[in-house]
Symmetry: C4
Subunit: 270 residues, 4 copies
């Protein structure tokens, strides 16, 4: 890294929380961002409560305006500094900027400021849609999490087993709901009158949520229900086992890499 | 593999998704099959909803006829090409065909087209039985999943621990339901009047589904219920632990095999 | 093993399912025993249903008499042949017999035939107690399970972690129920009127059973409930993790032992 | 360890359950402490039941006075003997005492005797607050558990994955509750009228508790509910997998350390 960094490069590093020179600024920015996102989430949640919304409507409106301003400036700065991203593999600055804008993080950053533009351009738009968009600002926090990518990667490595477990899950839900439909649709037409109704029951049972809004009453139905509940435990165990194994493998690989490195260092040292 | 393959052999490979020469045809066929099966499942589910069934009865009937035709042709082709399966270990083509027809996949492929024959031969048959048979077409998708066989094999390797865990599960269910029956059968005869009734409660509790249709009300009953719920957590943990361990072992074995292979290659290279 | 075995020794081996000479007899006996125990369990369960009991009372009485006879003969034979158990480390035959009679399996075998003696000696005894004793016959099946002992041993090896997890569980239940008691005992005196009542709710929530018979209604209560439910997931994950780890360790140790053996064989062979 | 220990040092070792010389006294003290704490917990729980409290009020008051005395003496002795803790790294006895008093265990020991002082100094204080403080005496048992610290340390080692899983959990709860709020707030204003209400439902569903006090009724709501329940299973699997992996890693490290030690001993022996 050269000592003389342009302002654009310094900003680029700060925004990516990778700055060595401006460590404090990067840290301050990351904390400010986290705080802004969390307050935004709390505000969206609280706005849905009529009593709270009535008393703080003005404050909420001001905070929303401030957020739009903050996230808009951040977005523009990210687009501007994206030209510094030499790892993206694109030659021109415009292509690097497009690379950011059309990537996962770029789209999330865009969505975070969309409510403002939508409200301005489409004044008749349903306010509730804008609120859902504002709740998606929480995704901006995934900028920070490298462990999340590790997590997804380690599960992706076991995707074949995972898909098989999901296939078993779908199979169990389908067969359980069909059998329960035949066993109970005459006795409880409101709960098990159609196979989609019975599928709601099957999913609620297999995930072991068990609300109790749809419960078999006949002997046949209870027998099918008992087998379904036990299958649910087994299927959940399978999913957990796959995830746990994926994790353990990742940790072991990191250990082996570490051990190999140490061994090589020892050999070289001798 | 010889370059000149007969049509029968080429079809055999396409149907088994193992064709190298006709890669595209094999891929197209596998996608078509998956699509047909999934639409079949959706149709069976939707037919059970009276409003939907009334409006699309004609379309559903046409689709069902097309499915029967598709799966029948597929079945006949599979029987015909099964003569190419030299791995089955049978000398004559007829025996190889019987080997397929009486195997797991052969029977599923037969069941998938049974509704047509049953409807033709037994016109008075209950339509609901035919529907259940049609839902079993989803099992045709297991043709693709080699990971599913791995999954079953890895759990089979820990079958002793698994059976012991199931024995513990049965023991817990039995003792919990007997104790709960004595504690609550006078207070709540509708919920705990017989041991089978109490077993329904015990299974719903131990699997942590907890519908709430049968809940102890006495102090003794609640104490038994609390212990049962905690035992349920432990038993589920046991099952999950066994499955997770079975998985981890399989993954580690694959790794060791890989490492050994690499080591041998390195030795040979020296 | 000598070729000439006395009848007592042959019977001893058959009863322990360890006979090589009388393999078929041992297998037949183990199947007969499993069948007798399972039918006994089914009979006890069905007897509790008034309609079934009324119609089959005579058959049930005959079967119970036959069971008592079968299990009594088995018990006497086990006591007699216990003298052959040279591994018990006792010098005299009487001590070896006492070793069996006072051991886990001996006591279970005794309990299995107790109903007969109790009914003869104490005619005024509550029949329901006898039924509970008969259900315990299922424990006779643990004679077969060596994997069960492995299971218990592998969890015992992690007992420190296990006790810590149970301590955390008790802590969570206690604190959750105290807080919920203060939050809801005025609003719902029937559900949360005392701390033991709130503990019932806490256990049902933390084990994720969630019957729904006691549910917080106030904002404070729901907040406490949400934190409790999330703690429940964490505690269950902890227990599962400990069990899964105990299992994985056991499997790995068996693998290492196997590898070491193979390596030693290879070394000796060179 | 020198053979001549002052009384203060001997007491210090007894109180920390590390005494070799006074093994019996240390064991007796640890049992007495555990007993006192457990009876205290039982008393607090039972006091909340009006009938029991009415009959045993006098006995409870006496026991509470005895507990305060016991725990006060213990606290004073711990403060006095803390001067012997040379590992704390502080030069003066006063600093060592402050090190204990302001540490985790010191504060818990102080909280355990607080009710007495609070009652004397603030006679108008709400009795219920005092009771909550008394229930915290159970934390004194964590003095014993070294495995608990191991447990926490092993999970702390996987904190990045853990935080990512919690982030995913928060994300799922937030998005599920927002979607459910839009789907059901008109149909069921009492259950889903605000986003915080919907969050209660989301947490109860994702943790698979499933009380059934808030259940979607519309087709959209049930679809969102089904996806949420399945996400819940996945998130719980993730948490369990991380904890299980953290555990397995810890156990493996201990094994490797053990193996390395043995190998070094063998090498030295040669």
């Amino acid at each position: 890294m050269t000592k003389h960094l342009t302002l654009r490069h310094r900003l680029f590093l700060i925004l990516r929380y990778a700055s060595v020179k401006d460590r404090k600024a990067a840290l301050a920015f990351s904390w400010l961002m986290t705080l802004m996102v969390l307050i935004n989430v709390v505000v969206v949640v609280l706005e849905s409560v009529p009593e709270i919304d009535r008393h703080h409507q003005q404050a909420f409106a001001w905070f929303d305006a401030a957020s739009i301003l903050f996230f808009s400036i951040e977005y523009l700065l990210r687009v501007w500094t994206a030209a510094e991203n030499h790892r993206s593999g694109h030659a021109s600055a415009t292509r690097r900027r497009l690379h950011y804008m059309l990537g996962f993080h770029g789209l999330i950053d865009l969505i975070a400021i969309l409510p403002f533009f939508l409200q301005s351009l489409l004044p008749g738009l349903d306010l509730r849609v804008l609120r859902v968009i504002r709740i998606l600002r929480i995704l901006k926090l995934s900028h920070y999490s490298t462990a999340l990518e590790d997590l997804i990667a380690s599960i992706y490595a076991e995707r074949d087993s995972f898909i098989s477990a999901l296939y078993l899950l779908a199979l169990t839900i389908l067969i359980a709901s069909c059998l329960m439909y035949y066993a109970e649709h005459r006795l409880q037409p409101a709960q098990f009158g159609t196979i989609p109704d019975a599928m709601w029951w099957a999913i609620v049972t297999i995930t072991t949520v068990g609300y109790g809004d749809a419960v078999p009453v006949s002997v046949h139905g209870k027998f099918i229900g008992a087998v379904t509940a036990l299958s649910g435990v087994f299927t959940v165990a399978l999913l957990t086992g796959i995830v746990a194994s994926a994790f353990a493998t990742r940790v072991r690989r990191q250990e082996i890499e570490f051990t190999t490195e140490v061994e090589e260092l020892v050999k070289d040292g001798h």
